[in-house]
Symmetry: C2
Subunit: 335 residues, 2 copies
């Protein structure tokens, strides 16, 4: 479908911090980037100043390679690789707006680290369902990677997951640059589910921190979380996986331990006594884990996997059970 | 050998912060603790004030249960459970001083998280070699647990490893209290080697931090480290292990991520340009990883397991190769 070393035309769909970081990484190479942002003002601002006015505002972009646009279909039409990087809460609308056939014969990449609320679907699933994209044409970009450190050009690593090694290789080559190394793993679903679940765990870690639990507790919680993720993903899609590789463990660590993690920050505020609503208003950013925990909780009604940490976060966020009560229950269940 | 629920007489051999934390935990129960410290002055101070003058100085101990002594043989003689918790660099001398036969029919517990320099032996090995203690009488206390958080009575978890579930259970019951939960794992060697190696990794994490690498990089380093530990331990002693449990992953996390970790602090100072010598003088504490990396490096001359992180730390600490050069090599080897 794609040839190596050719100049790729890439659509980046989304205007948040991770989208901005990906545009920065991609523009280190020779690609042409059609960057779709929802708001016309932002498009105009970026055209005028070469910077995103809202996220990673210090990052200067090369406008010879990066073309911002508010026209979604045009951005997709003119590209062969389409990277979706919109918060999960809005991605459903975006994908539904795209005319049938427009995604045919393109490489579809999801950099969304969440699930579609209500539908409880991964982006990968939704694209297959609505646009009949064959799964071999889909890849997923996973971490461990905070956008903020990409902005600073700190050494980072990405994992590209996909059923087609050929397509994953194309995407990984586009995302490899001076400060980013991208590797490949043949596990679309495992990587995508792990990326979703890590945000739930990060909320739990933040809550524990907010309640003044220490480093000893967090180490045990993250170890138990790895086992919880493993149980869930294996039940959804059994496969031989190296759970200690960066795509799974690394992604969990960067989210659970870094102050850059907005999910951890949300949890921290809730642990310190903020209501969920006021924490979200204060943060002014979307914590994917907030939606993800509901999706995972609902999927697990069928699977019935033991998921004490996910359950605790769900109860705190949706059932208004006191964080300290839930954490005391967790204390006893972990080891 | 021991009966459940009886009042145990326990010798704690060592006067550092981890020894003090263990004495505190043990004295929450009904045991009598014969606490051996090297220096007479410290023994006298603790008898007078109920506090260790050098470590965890805020912790007040119950002198009805805790009897400090400078007489090693007497402490051992009067106890049925002997916990060694002396820095690895000095534990060899202590164990050699003990008269033959004195450790017979006792439960021997190692809380030392290092290897005997020169000999490249685990404490477990040394006790077997010198005192012919059968391996079923030996258990190991592993983390994830920083002494400083035990002092604050923050919720913590311990892992007790041993070949005899019965003996491990006795030790785990003694160490379970209001703020500590102790679990059992039937893997003496794996837990002990992992506990040793985590300190080497923590030095690497500290060096990376000192050189201004970020959270993205550390997440990848810790994931790669888990794989490195797994390769080494499996080569030394093959066994089915859940590498994501607290005894292995948790112990690594608490050391790699916590500012309480003295190994991480040593690495951080080296990354920021301190010489190894001046960092050690400045810290005034022993970083076990400094000795451990040499032992592991030497053992691995035979095993020839791929250990890029351990090799980098060894080269920086013992071959005086520049930290930034070694980290650049690591950057490329990891994914």
């Amino acid at each position: 479908m794609q040839k190596k070393n050719e100049v790729h035309k890439i659509a980046v769909i989304g205007g948040g911090s991770w989208a901005t970081a990906l545009v920065k990484i991609l523009s280190e190479g020779n690609s042409k980037i059609n960057w779709w942002l929802k708001d016309k003002e932002d498009v105009t601002y970026i055209r005028d100043y070469g910077r995103n006015p809202n996220y990673l505002t210090d990052v200067t972009l090369n406008l010879k390679k990066v073309r911002p646009t508010q026209f979604l279909n045009k951005a997709i039409e003119e590209s062969t690789i389409i990277i979706f990087v919109v918060p999960a809460a809005f991605i459903g609308d975006v994908i539904e707006r795209i005319p049938k056939g427009l995604l045919d014969n393109k490489i579809i990449v999801s950099a969304v680290k969440g699930m579609i609320p209500q539908d409880n679907l991964l982006v990968t699933d939704l694209v297959q369902k609505i646009h009949k994209v064959p799964s071999k044409n889909i890849t997923v970009i996973a971490g461990p990677c905070h956008a903020e450190e990409v902005a600073l050009e700190k050494r980072s690593y990405l994992t590209i997951a996909g059923e087609s090694i050929q397509n994953a290789t194309i995407v990984s080559e586009l995302l490899t640059c001076r400060y980013v190394k991208a590797s490949i793993v043949e596990d679309l679903y495992g990587v995508e589910y792990s990326a979703v679940m890590k945000n739930v765990i990060a909320i739990a870690c933040g809550i524990a921190r907010g309640l003044n639990y220490g480093d000893n507790f967090q180490a045990v919680m993250v170890s138990n979380a790895m086992q919880e993720i493993r149980r869930f993903v294996d039940a959804m899609n059994h496969k031989d996986r190296d759970w200690n590789s960066s795509a799974y463990l690394g992604d969990l660590l960067v989210t659970s331990y870094s102050p850059y993690s907005r999910n951890r920050t949300l949890g921290n505020m809730i642990g310190r006594g903020y209501s969920v609503k006021s924490a979200q208003v204060e943060m002014n950013m979307i914590a994917e884990g907030y939606y993800a925990v509901k999706c995972i909780h609902e999927i697990n009604k069928q699977l019935k996997v033991s998921m004490p940490i996910t359950k605790a976060v769900y109860n705190i966020l949706y059932e208004k059970i006191s964080p300290s009560v839930e954490l005391r229950i967790l204390e006893d269940s972990m080891n």
